[in-house]
Symmetry: C2
Subunit: 141 residues, 2 copies
């Protein structure tokens, strides 16, 4: 974090808002001049005064995380104005449900193997069935 | 959706903003008077004019989903000013990673059973090992 601001090098927020970047500027540590898009997104979605208000209500050590999560949400909303980052939440929830079902099924098979309901060694080609999870693994990354 | 607005019953947005709710009000179909907190949250986090601008830029059939996702984000940010709904994303990402690891391990065990590396029927008590996933199942819900 902590990009120091001076009159010669205003932070991205003050540059965007065309105002003098004063010492103690609430935005300066989190919106360095070399990342102009970060503030542009946050300003477009939340508005500079809302963000300033929110930062003032937090403890100094919480502000960097807050700005980063706001910047993430803002970028997601710029890219997807209908769902924003809630689209990512829906996608992840579906992925969790699918993985949980696959895991429950695999565990049920394991219990049946362990209890001898399925004779072991029936088919090494069964690997093709189990291999299907690796597709989801790639998707998860 | 579609709560009709009239002078006698302004939508939650117009009531909050203390203005007359005119026919064709952009907020009225999505902010019914019986859900005042929905608009209060969205106004606090995004600002009424940002939301109005965003809705005007969308097609009418996209607006309800957009309002609902904005309301979700706003409520999450009100509850957790530092991380907002990005906290849910981080939680879900960790859950996906954990489930994927558990699934990979279960599938590796199944392949070993199928290839006869583990004699089947060794212990029905193995169920206690497999049962651990049901804790995660509850967590997922």
């Amino acid at each position: 974090m902590a990009s120091s601001s001076s009159y010669n090098c205003p932070c991205a927020a003050c540059k965007f808002l065309r105002r003098k970047c004063m010492p103690g500027c609430i935005f300066a540590p989190y919106f360095p001049p070399e990342e102009p898009q970060k503030f542009a997104n946050v300003h477009k979605i939340f508005g500079a005064s809302n963000v300033s208000k929110l930062l003032h209500e937090l403890l100094p050590h919480q502000r960097e995380d807050a700005v980063n999560s706001l910047a993430y949400e803002a970028e997601a909303r710029v890219k997807d104005p209908v769902y924003g980052c809630v689209g990512a939440i829906s996608f992840l929830q579906r992925q969790v449900e699918r993985l949980q079902k696959e895991l429950d099924a695999a565990n049920a098979d394991l219990i049946r193997y362990a209890c001898n309901d399925i004779p072991s060694g029936i088919a090494c080609t069964a690997g093709s069935k189990f291999g299907s999870s690796h597709g989801s693994s790639a998707e998860a990354g």
